[in-house]
């Protein structure tokens, strides 16, 4: 009997330890890194993760977990003179921009998260395990992602100035110092030159980055650097030639929403809406149901009358019963008329800001009537990041700065003013160079309102100090400006973890 028990014990003990693999547990829904990038399907999936970053607009923490780039662009406009964000977002407009602000942190960290994914992709695509690809195909993959890396670094350096330049995957002990803005801009241009050399010269049809996008972004980088000759050169060697694959959209509305937005010939690059992914705090719900983002009176009054004269209540075109009448048609495409949304019977009645819209300037540009949201977004539009209208105005600005106001400048501006459903008269001939510069700047504000350009334009033109204190927000508070805010503070969270980082002038580390 004793022997039987011992045998039982032995069997029991054996069964516990016999299976060595028992402790080898790997995640059941994920793939180990060492077998990755070994066929083209995997490379395509990795590329998707890169593109998906473009949807995020750099930050994704402060307003809502799922905010996309379209909302993010519109919010940037509110840091300038175009609009107002109800929560006093970031403290930028009240002079309270602080390194402890979570938004400065999410933009900074979100950008480097994107960059890490891009770097990982580029690093792996350049490694020998991808030798199975044709050289041209390989370079095209790399070029697409280098374009996106350039795009993110460009935003980053515009906000923070000198930034850490990370171009390869880094490990946990990485403690880099900041690189000068010049060096960052040079790296951006390197990436873009690679992209220009390696991307196909196609129209923007299948969602992938094309050569024209790399040209357009390079133009913007050069414009921000003040390299007007470079800007003009890209215009004359690409966009103003037969190689150019883009043309102006006859309808302003079609650029931003509706069934005609996809494959619109004016769009050079966009972040594409992902079907069925409803974002809780996407642009349409932010604009309408919550009405968290409002246009400023200053913007409303910036729209010209439809004969090209500036707005004024003494102008005979002024209609006191409806001030949207006789105005630049882009006004009604861009802003809701509160008369039209607060009347019972209107398709918008009650759907916007709980019906309480009196005196509030609600943005219409990205809102599709039939998709008006309730609690969850109804958006299905792509976020336009680069378009020919932008390129034409960039060229006009550079051409005027380099060679003065001439027909070339007026014609370029007329590309946007003369659009079929806008049909504004051309800018007058005979303006001084400075007057022309101001008209181009004004045109840029109107044409690209809430597309995320205005804040960066005012920053690069160094106009914040002149303009911001003029703005009184709907809550009655006058905005303040401090020149240190031309650069954002690096976030405390980043500074505390990296002793080699320095803070921008005027800001504490905490």
């Amino acid at each position: 009997m004793k022997g039987k028990y011992l045998l039982l014990s032995a069997i029991a003990a054996m069964s516990f330890i016999s299976c060595k693999k028992f402790l080898d547990k790997v995640p059941l829904d994920k793939i180990a890194t060492d077998v990755y990038y070994t066929n083209q399907t995997q490379i395509d999936m990795a590329l998707i993760s890169c593109y998906s970053r473009m949807m995020r607009g750099g930050w994704d923490g402060n307003i809502g977990a799922d905010m996309n780039v379209c909302s993010s662009n519109a919010i940037f406009d509110c840091f300038g003179d175009n609009g107002f964000i109800k929560w006093g977002f970031l403290g930028i407009t009240s002079g309270n921009l602080s390194p402890a602000n979570t938004a400065t942190q999410t933009i900074y960290e979100g950008s480097y998260s994107s960059i890490a994914i891009f770097n990982d992709f580029i690093y792996n695509l350049e490694s020998p395990k991808v030798d199975f690809l044709q050289q041209a195909a390989r370079q095209k993959y790399i070029a697409e992602v280098k374009f996106m890396r350039a795009y993110v670094y460009f935003t980053l350096t515009n906000l923070y100035g000198d930034v850490v330049l990370t171009l390869t995957p880094e490990g946990p002990d990485y403690r880099p110092a900041r690189a000068s803005k010049d060096k960052v801009m040079a790296a951006i241009l390197d990436d873009l030159d690679y992209a220009i050399a390696s991307l196909p010269n196609d129209p923007y049809m299948n969602g992938h980055v094309v050569k024209g996008a790399a040209y357009a972004l390079k133009m913007k980088v050069l414009l921000y650097k003040g390299d007007y000759a470079g800007v003009v050169s890209i215009w004359s060697t690409y966009f103003n030639t037969a190689n150019n694959k883009f043309s102006m959209s006859p309808k302003y509305y079609d650029l931003f929403r509706g069934p005609n937005q996809p494959k619109n010939p004016e769009i050079i690059f966009s972040a594409i809406y992902v079907p069925d992914q409803r974002y809780r705090n996407d642009i349409d719900i932010t604009l309408t149901n919550y009405a968290d983002l409002l246009a400023s009176d200053d913007l409303l009054h910036a729209y010209e009358f439809n004969d090209g004269t500036p707005f004024s209540t003494t102008n005979p075109k002024y209609d006191p019963s409806n001030e949207y009448n006789n105005r630049d048609p882009r006004l009604k495409y861009t802003l809701f008329n509160s008369l039209e949304i607060s009347q019972p019977g209107s398709p918008y009645y009650g759907k916007i800001a709980g019906g309480n819209v009196t005196g509030k300037l609600i943005v219409k540009k990205f809102v599709q009537d039939e998709l008006l949201p309730a609690q969850v977004s109804g958006s299905d539009q792509d976020a336009v990041l680069l378009r020919l209208g932008d390129v034409a105005l960039m060229y006009a600005e550079a051409e005027n700065a380099l060679n003065g106001p001439g027909n070339k400048v007026i014609d370029a501006v007329q590309m946007v003013r003369g659009r079929a459903d806008v049909n504004m008269p051309p800018l007058p001939v005979g303006l001084s160079k400075d007057a022309m510069r101001d008209r181009i700047r004004h045109e840029r504000r109107i044409e690209m309102a809430f597309e995320g350009q205005r804040y960066f334009d005012l920053m690069r033109w160094r106009l914040m100090g002149d303009i911001i204190p003029r703005i009184v927000d709907p809550n009655g508070v006058r905005r303040v400006w401090d020149n240190k805010n031309y650069l954002w503070p690096l976030p405390t969270s980043a500074l505390s973890k990296n002793p080699n980082l320095t803070q921008n002038a005027g800001y504490p580390r905490l």
């Binding site: 028992f22 829904d29 793939i31 998707i48 594409i272």
Partner: protein
């Protein structure tokens, strides 16, 4: 050869009644033989005299004959008061010969002879051993069981006499726990086990469990939950009437046998087993009235509310349209609630109500000498005190044990639980707080249509009418848990036993969150405003989530115990294997036509979603224990456990967790003079190491995870894949070293017992995420490292006094515990807004210490406000912040980051429990007080801050600062969403409230029917009781309930319950 031992080469063949067994020579202790070599041997087999025939030197069996005599015993068993005790188990020692006392406390049993020892045991009484002859001299008295040193307590993988314990252990019987009424047995542990902190943060049906913490927070990287072991197997708390005892293992010496999961302490629970004897059917019914302990006292007078709103609007510079018109205010003032068009709606009273909670438990318990059983069936129905909440639970536990042979015992514990939970799909409490009193939930026209606001210009931001949430849908969860726990115990000999215990747990849960859009109407105009979804949690439609898990465990132990003269030696060795896998699957469709069809197939096909994943882990362990005692005076124990976990990379999987402890019972020393009032003095000391692997399942693995979706054509959705984070393969266990010093004192013949323990618990290698620079791109998914360190020091003292004066039996049990938490290694300090409000993680101070500005009064004049250096443009009446420091370490006239300060109070400085019990004749009484002191809570948000998201202020805001009423404690009323208030710019100590409290947690008064009376109605016994929970609270805390203050410092969590209940326990 009389008195000599039997030669070792002889095997004895023993015949005992019908069982034939080989008797090993070694088992014959204290045996003698008599007579000539080849004739008859008189032996002692246990206490049984026997005769053997044969030749002791021959190598063949001896024949054995049973020569037992018989001696009939008629006995009577009574308690200290002289009343008969029914159901006492009467066993002839060393045999399986037994019976039970009847209702009159009488029994008859035939034993071998008059010297036979009879063992008397009964629940609630101390066991006694009495010679058979003693019964002839009159009734034998059993003393009531008390927490005394001879009591046996459950320890890791074994049982031990309390007198022999050397570790820090606290235990409580199930009987003591049953005095309280709570649907969730974890809350019953509050305040009764020194060293265990139990915080019930909510009274929400189905989610009212307590967070358990033993000796403070030991880690900031891993879980801080203690390991709960039910009958040897990791599990969850059974219902109260199944619990036989609860033991907590606090120090390393007692817990290290559980190795890698013991760092947070271990809670051992044994469930009730049947006893041999007649079967008993017990029915326990409890009917309880639940109400919220406190709901905020909100302004319900509409005119007052409107005036206060206007005052706040002026102070907050809000737009001119953002005011109630005086004409409207006048209408409400004139109506004073009488005109249904101008109501004074009390939203709290519409949502909160009294709830009738009932529980029924049926237990069948009993057995024969071969099989014992305890079968329990339990049903609970718990509607919520807030509308829209409900919880129903059915549980069953069936414990059956069989004696297969004398040596083999086998049994199975089966538990099955099924629960149904219902809760609103949106934030109902938030919604209830944010409605103005100016309108009711339904239009005044009686049409039953739901409202949203009365004054669109002002109230449009109100959150949502709570009845919109209730009408739109709900979240329903069902849970089904099964555990099958078979075991076998083989008793090779008296001193060697082998246990094999297996368990298969399976869990299945399904959650259905459903919501349809609701139409809302304007109270004033009756116009439809919108049709929308009002459930913020789930969105529109139906989301179904299935979760299931499977968790098999097997362990086996070999136990040795033997006394050699004054030496006592015990040893135990075992192995354990565990595996767990969890899976889930989710499906979602957004569009449903009505509430009638709540299944996936009934929904529209656009926007459908699905998801699912699975994870698994495995654990292999070996463990052992050695203990040694000398003359019950010096006690030594050593434990070692080795664990290997799949959560770490090969090479880092094994962890070793040793501990040693010693005890010295000083009074046993001959050189200590006898002190009449001192009956026990034991010094204990222990030191050892524990582990913690409470991290995620794959912390070291470098993987690519689905990251982001993208579409190139607005139609096809593509899933991206990217590296999911930086990893570190070289991580391993967290280690917690505990030093414990304890003293047990027994005074007045152990009527007064005092136990004190002092500990220092030091956790190193805390598994936390490395602080990686943002520039790597992975600062949010950085690798785990064994990076941090944290220390907890503290003490626990418990005092227990039990006494009987005449027919009054009473007891007082009090305990106090205190611990101090210190982060000893963290890295760069971290300033954060959550989880407990503005806080900081900094080395040298408690984890998550409060870190904020210091409130310094209220600006009484605008000039004072203008000179303050506060950047929020304060006004007279606003909170004033103290200028503490500046860049040069002195006040600089500016209020900025330099003026923040660490404020103590994130952990309580001490907590205490006091239980008073008394029994007189047929009445019994118990009261339990619990208190926690020194903890503070950051209170903010809806209900506390005026008009936060439209929320209605509490009545105290009617006395807020005004130029005429210059309050120094309550600032001018403001609209917290429209004003750059001090709160948002300068989180400060005005919002930090003292959450100390003393509370009568439980009160129970019972009456037991006299046994004769019970007998006449064919009952074994019947007890009726009245019980209350959370009856009163002494606190300065202004929030809802101080007990759940931490981390829930606003008014939005579900309140705790005040319970009045009546019950009966009837035994058949």
């Amino acid at each position: 050869m009389e008195g000599e031992t039997l030669p070792r080469n002889i095997q004895l063949f023993i015949m005992m009644k019908k069982n034939y067994n080989w008797l090993q020579p070694g088992t014959l202790t204290q045996r003698r033989w008599a007579g000539p070599k080849q004739a008859i041997f008189f032996l002692l087999y246990g206490s049984l005299p026997a005769i053997a025939f044969g030749n002791p030197v021959a190598d063949k069996p001896l024949f054995y004959a049973d020569v037992r005599m018989t001696f009939p015993v008629k006995g009577s068993v009574r308690n200290a008061q002289g009343d008969p005790i029914p159901g006492v188990t009467i066993v002839e020692k060393g045999t399986k010969n037994f019976t039970q006392t009847n209702a009159d406390g009488l029994f008859t049993l035939t034993v071998k002879d008059e010297a036979s020892i009879i063992v008397l045991t009964s629940i609630g009484f101390a066991s006694r051993e009495v010679p058979a002859a003693a019964f002839a001299r009159g009734p034998v008295v059993l003393a009531a069981a008390e927490k005394r040193i001879d009591e046996v307590v459950v320890v890791g993988y074994a049982k031990q006499k309390k007198a022999n314990l050397t570790g820090a252990i606290a235990s409580v019987s199930g009987e003591a726990l049953e005095k309280r009424v709570s649907p969730n047995s974890a809350t019953l542990l509050q305040g009764v086990l020194p060293g265990l902190q139990a915080v019930q943060s909510s009274g929400q049906p189905g989610a009212d469990g307590a967070q358990l913490l033993i000796r403070g927070m030991g880690s900031y990287g891993s879980s801080n939950d203690p390991l709960i072991i039910v009958d040897g197997i990791p599990g969850s708390m059974p219902t109260a009437d199944n619990i036989a005892s609860v033991t907590i293992l606090k120090d390393a010496a007692s817990a290290s046998i559980y190795g890698v999961r013991a760092a947070n302490g271990v809670i051992l629970i044994t469930t009730k087993q049947g006893r041999p004897g007649t079967a008993t059917l017990t029915y326990h019914v409890n009917m309880a009235n639940y109400q919220a302990t406190k709901t905020p006292d909100l302004i319900t007078n509409s005119a007052d509310f409107m005036e206060l709103w206007n005052r706040a609007a002026v102070h907050s510079n809000s737009e001119a349209t953002d005011r109630y018109q005086q004409s409207d205010i006048d209408k409400y003032r004139a109506s004073n609630g009488a005109d249904p068009r101008y109501p004074n709606t009390d939203w709290m009273s519409l949502i909160f109500r009294n709830a009738l909670v009932q529980s029924h438990a049926l237990t069948v318990s009993g057995g024969t000498d071969k099989v014992t059983y305890n079968l329990n069936f339990n049903y609970l129905s718990q509607p919520g005190v807030a509308a829209g909440y409900n919880f129903d639970r059915f549980t069953s536990r069936m414990n059956v044990e069989a004696k297969v042979t004398n040596a083999i015992k086998a049994g199975v514990n089966v538990s099955i639980g099924y629960s149904k939970t219902k809760s609103p799909a949106g934030d109902l409490l938030m919604a209830a707080f944010t409605q103005s009193p100016t309108y009711g939930p339904y239009l005044p026209d009686g049409s039953g249509r739901l409202t949203k606001y009365a004054f669109s210009a002002i109230e449009f931001k109100n959150n949502r009418n709570p009845f919109l949430i209730l009408n739109g849908g709900d979240v329903r969860t069902i849970g089904l848990n099964m555990q099958l726990n078979p075991y076998v115990q083989v008793k090779f000999t008296e001193w060697l036993t082998w246990d094999v215990n297996a368990s298969l747990s399976a869990g299945y849960g399904k959650t259905k969150a459903f919501n349809t859009p609701q139409s809302t109407y304007d109270w004033t105009t009756g116009n439809q405003i919108e049709k929308a979804v009002y459930a913020s949690y789930t969105g529109q439609g139906l989301r179904v989530t299935d979760n299931n898990s499977i968790n098999p465990i097997v362990y086996s132990t070999l136990n040795f115990h033997q006394n050699f003269g004054r030496h006592s030696i015990g040893a135990m060795a075992g192995t354990q294997v565990e595996y767990s896998k969890s899976e889930n699957l989710m499906g979602y469709r957004p569009d449903y036509i009505s509430n009638l069809t709540q299944e996936i197939d009934a929904g529209g096909l656009t926007g459908i979603q699905n998801g699912g994943t699975a994870t698994e882990y495995a654990l292999v362990s070996g463990f052992g224990r050695v203990n040694y005692g000398y003359a019950n005076k010096y006690l030594l124990e050593g434990n070692l456990r080795a664990d290997a976990s799949s959560r770490f990379a090969p090479g880092y999987q094994w962890g070793y967790f040793p501990s040693v402890s010693a005890g010295w019972r000083i009074l046993e020393e001959s050189f200590i003079p006898k002190i009449s009032w001192l009956s026990e003095t034991k010094l204990r000391v222990s030191y050892g190491k524990l582990g913690n692997q409470g991290t995620n399942n794959y912390p070291y693995q470098s993987v690519l995870a689905p990251t982001g979706l993208y579409s190139f054509d607005n139609a096809t959705i593509n899933t991206g894949l990217a590296r999911s984070g930086l990893v570190n393969r070289q991580i391993s266990w967290e280690e917690t070293k505990v030093f414990n010093l304890g003293l047990d004192l027994g005074l007045l013949e152990n009527r007064l017992m005092i136990t004190g323990d002092w500990f220092k618990k030091n956790t190193t290698g805390i598994l936390r995420r490395q602080q990686v620079t943002a520039e790597t791109g992975f600062s949010q998914s950085s690798p785990y490292i064994n990076g941090g360190e944290m220390t907890n020091t503290g003490f626990e003292i418990s005092v227990d006094y039990q006494n009987t004066i005449g027919k009054l039996k009473y007891g007082i049990n009090g305990n106090v515990q205190r611990y101090k938490n210190t982060v000893t290694k963290f890295g760069a300090e971290q300033i954060q807004a959550s989880p407990y409000g503005p806080s900081i993680i900094r080395e040298g101070i408690p984890y998550n210490s409060y870190y904020m500005y210091v409130w310094d009064g209220i600006f009484q004049t605008q000039a004072e406000a203008d000179a303050s250096g506060q950047s929020n443009s304060p006004k007279a009446g606003d909170l004033k912040i103290r200028d503490i420091s500046g860049p040069d370490n002195k006040p600089d006239g500016k209020i900025d980051g330099y003026d923040k300060k660490v404020v103590p109070g994130v952990f309580p400085s001490f907590s205490a429990g006091l239980t008073i019990t008394a029994a007189y004749r047929n009445f019994d009484f118990s009261a339990f007080f619990y208190g926690s002191y020194g903890q503070k809570a950051y209170v903010y948000g809806p209900g506390f801050e005026p008009f936060y998201q439209g929320s209605v202020p509490t009545k105290e805001w009617l006395n807020a600062w005004t130029p005429e009423n210059k309050s120094t404690t309550l600032p001018a009323v403001y609209n917290s969403q429209r004003y750059n208030s001090t709160w948002s710019t300068y989180p400060n100590t005005w919002f930090l409230q003292d959450a100390s409290f003393t509370r009568l947690k439980s009160l129970n008064i019972g009456y037991t029917l006299p046994e004769k009376l019970a007998g006449t109605i064919h009952l074994k016994s019947a007890r009726f009781y009245l019980a209350g929970e959370n009856l009163f609270t002494i606190t300065k805390y202004k929030g809802l309930d101080p007990e759940r203050a931490l981390g829930a410092g606003n008014y939005l969590t579900y309140p705790q319950n005040r319970i009045y209940s009546a019950g009966a326990i009837v035994k058949f």
